[in-house]
Symmetry: D2
Subunit: 364 residues, 4 copies
């Protein structure tokens, strides 16, 4: 007879649509094995400060798969291997408190941890695994830039929200013969910009993987105008960079950098287009909207499959691995292997080819 386990789950990093569905599936799959399951609030903090641990039951997770965010919260106080510890007068130092986490984990007699998170959180999970904690990872990244899996949850929802926003901007751009520049998430990888730009019938898509020449962008818009399309939609990943310049970052502009602008990359692109072509150009930043709200059906299903697979991995004793999509199946990939890969848009992949085939300009 198989052992009655006692497991726990935490969620780390930025919230993503689907986190609650992972929690629901882990809870239900554990419950149906007659295991006990606990939720650790606020990342690893709950293993330092154990009043942040809650019992998860079918009632607590009923129907949460369709709700955005995470019922466990993700406000990490930091990395237990390098945690800021402060005294009464506010002086802080970084300290390794991972042993205390290990001790609490053992004292609470947990048999396994399901760690849901991005690069950073899974790196920590892997370090704990090396210290002997039985950990199974569940990859989470809205940007789709994690290796080892075809896709992760949250991405489809983010792309859908961005596409819906782009759909909306078409009507106002068209009515006013305007250029609308929309900034979507994607610091290192342009997947959201690429997929939402294609689905949303954009004219131009700018992504980190293809540095752009603003002149080429302007040429495209003028050519469109000749062909009778007087308005345009430009989708820009937040990490897109001009060919000749440095990264354009929002916020405090450092002296000497040519392209650092206060308003972020969308603002920069809109202003340059306006200046160079004389066209009325506006920018907007989708920001937090892309993370929130009910996950798409695709993301709900993927998250539930990930959660259930994590419990089956625990049952099989496969630790220091993460669940991953190898379409159409769920596979287990060693964390060490997955963490070494940075996924980027392949500039010769068929999605880029499709975009070029249907006439989208990347500014290159």
């Amino acid at each position: 007879m198989s052992k009655r386990m006692k497991i726990c789950i935490n969620t780390g990093g930025g919230d993503a649509p689907g986190l609650n569905a992972v929690i629901e599936a882990v809870t239900m799959a554990a419950y149906n094995r007659q295991w006990e399951v606990y939720g650790i609030k606020s990342g690893y903090t709950g293993l330092l400060n154990t009043d942040e641990i809650i019992r998860l039951t079918p009632e607590k997770v009923d129907g949460i798969a369709s709700i955005g965010g995470t019922i466990l919260g993700t406000t990490n106080k930091g990395n237990p291997f390098s945690m800021p510890v402060c005294n009464a007068v506010g002086e802080c130092e970084l300290r390794d408190v991972s042993d205390r986490v290990m001790d609490n984990f053992k004292r609470l007699r947990f048999d396994a941890l399901v760690a849901v998170g991005g690069d950073g959180s899974l790196e920590i999970a892997h370090q704990f695994a090396e210290k002997g904690m039985p950990v199974v990872g569940v990859p989470k990244t809205i940007d789709n830039d994690m290796g080892g899996t075809v896709i992760t949850f949250g991405f489809d929802t983010a792309v859908s929200i961005a596409t819906e926003a782009i759909d909306r901007l078409h009507s106002t751009a068209k009515s006013h013969d305007r250029v609308m520049v929309v900034e979507v998430m994607g610091r290192n990888a342009g997947f959201i910009a690429l997929n939402s730009g294609i689905s949303g019938n954009a004219d131009v898509i700018l992504i980190p993987e293809i540095p752009f020449d603003i002149e080429k962008v302007c040429d495209k818009l003028m050519e469109n105008e000749l062909n009778g399309r007087k308005y345009a939609i430009v989708v820009v990943a937040e990490g897109a960079v001009p060919k000749d310049g440095e990264a354009i970052s929002k916020g405090e502009g450092e002296a000497g950098r040519q392209h650092v602008v206060l308003g972020g990359i969308a603002d920069y692109v809109a202003k340059e287009i306006s200046k160079r072509t004389g066209k009325d150009s506006r920018s907007m930043v989708l920001g937090h909207l892309q993370r929130g709200g009910s996950p798409t059906t695709f993301d709900r299903l993927l998250s539930l499959r990930f959660g259930a697979a994590a419990v089956r991995a625990i049952e099989a004793g496969k630790f220091d691995h993460m669940v991953a999509l190898k379409s159409p199946d769920i596979a287990l990939v060693p964390l060490a292997e997955a963490l070494g890969i940075e996924k980027r848009v392949r500039t010769d992949g068929d999605t880029i080819l499709t975009a070029r085939d249907i006439g989208i300009c990347f500014g290159d």
Copy 2:
């Protein structure tokens, strides 16, 4: 037997969801009376430069009621009573070209104009009516700040989009224990902020009609925290103003003004909250998203009713009036009367009372 009319329609000012539905209803109601109907592109410009006039037919308007924007465009070149006229070297002067508009209107043998627009456009329509043009107005304002009608089209859609965005921000705010400050449209009137804030379960709503004290806002957030609600949603109309200060405008800050900030009112509020309470606060501006996309069912129906009523008004010879909603009926209101009224949120109205009853703070 009634006369076979030849009528035209234009749309002016910012685009609003429902414009196409008005155009569809005017076209179909005219067609079913065997009248001819024409669309004047780009506001009144089409009556100066008559190659911008198109014949409207059932085929051209089939199904457009569900599409955002306006098939006629709204890029006005200006007010015909004070039109910038420029010479080859770029020197411009304002000139009254309204006679030319009148001449063209007569030369094209139009029997009536349906003018769809906001305050500005309907003011022009009224001036033309006084010059003898048979005009029927259709009021359009996303902000719901026009007098003479209970409500106009576009507003319900804008409120719905804002509410949906606020719904989305809840999950991310909650997961991170954050304050999210959302800026919605409403320069002079806070209707969008008020309705979307109530529907979207906001904690604080700031509107132009109720100058706010940022300290009272912070008190509310701290009190919420005591009660266990660690995150908050603050909805701000773009025209909201602090009690002790001047209007906070986006853009170039003029010297000497205390509250002018680069990022707009949402940014200002988020920064003040963060500074005063130490809470992690973020801002976002919904901007153009509120105008775009498919109108809600409510707006489609109202727009179609407005359009059909405008044609019936022409049939009845009731000019220099605008169509208006007097629930549950459509009425005709003299333009002169409607244009004199500035509609604002009534601070003792039941919607404000409802908001206060359910615990929403206005910062007063």
Copy 3:
């Protein structure tokens, strides 16, 4: 100083989007007056069987305004004035148990009841008011057929869902040159069919208020075909009736009735069209979809306003009344007055005029 009240709320009849928003507003408005508020489960049953009464708190109602259904349930066991009471061998008789309800109400020291419901539930509320119970009614009807108020909550959501479904059917009808007949709710009043049909670009709308001639419907479809529109959308209220016949009811056909068909009115209409015109015709019934899910922003706001107004009515001691919308305000209407009115589509109202103006056929 005003008294600290102890109030209760129940919801009766079919569920409607917005019920939870009423509950939220009543709870919050009571809480903010430092009153106690209780929810009575399953209509009046909870006042017979008092273990079905729950304390309502801000935590319990937080965010429920955006959720469909009712947290209090609506599975009435029946009318307390004529309740089926059964013995162990299953023999039942109708008995008046209203005195027991009154006794329990007093014993629990409730100061007032907010009764949310349709015709039937408010009639019961009025009878209790006459027995001395301090009751305030909140009208609820998806069909919009209740008198005394311009509109009630749930209707806008039902119309929106129906319109969205009709939008979807267009693409498949068009691709296959088909006639799609959609049955929507509306046993006695055609408001949902009328509003969703106009908004959804239907060709034909059949409502109880305008008995239809199936030949006129077929003529319209053939005329459309001549004009190049080979597909059609027909929206039918469940209570629509043919001119020459009796009501078409779903279910057991009684002998001798010509028009009683098993599949309901949509099925009947689709088969007749198919038989008479040779066109490929399909029917579908939207049914329960129209009741479910998140209320529209319009319905959320209206429900919250109704709930808060009910609490203000209690505060003002205005009992045996119901809250009502007199646009743009909320008013109080005596229950006796409102219950006497049956609201129907006015066949000479501007909505019907609009439909005719844009070419929609009613089969008359």
Copy 4:
């Protein structure tokens, strides 16, 4: 220099969300190669009756990727290899008119055909390929039951619409303590029922691949009731079958068959549950709603990728193949190979495991 091709495209079988996106991508990818591209209306009919062929241009396809249905229509008159040919008095015989199709194809100097369709249409495409027509297939099936590709377009939209409907039914089922039985598409394969049932938090899912025992279904519902969940959602694929019986088909019941019921499988299941458990049970059929309306972002992107890949296949001279998703890439698969595979839900696959892990009952 590569040849300037002249290609055509048709769409066959039932409509599916994404067809227009395929047409858009084929048109744009051809246009950007300076090829000519034509749309053949109504399947192969347009190659018999050549007045049904239209020139496709960027203007005609602008923005259609987000619109449901197909601008080319899919009302096939039949299979050219076995076409019903009728005389004036209505006597018909099946005739092979494929040579006439081949002749017209050559006479019109088409260099290639993109055939978009399901099993049946691609089988015809393959037969034409064997007669020498340069054909590239694009697989289309809402049910996801086609071999050779991980997934096809339309499926994600159908699952999303079904899930949204199930979400809506939860609130009404819960408010009334009811069992709601929803019938979704899937004659031979249960993918839509499985995915929407899991995403939509169903209690029971019945699919063709797992014959069900109605008693086991009832046991599950009674067990749920014990655990306090008094309502239930049952999702049934139209092709689901009881273990001991024959297929339950809608329509004319043949004598002697035990399970043939007039109302279809959902109606049968609801009635049995009601009879055996005494619970209030209702059924509904989603039907055509699942096909219609705007494709999800996932489907838009996949369809655009398929369309562009079909044009690249033509460019590469790879005929008698179909495009297919081999995640994350698009591949080309010989039609003969793909047509031999019938894809079904793997009863030991991880999606079924997930469903069982989270407590969903399949009635087995």
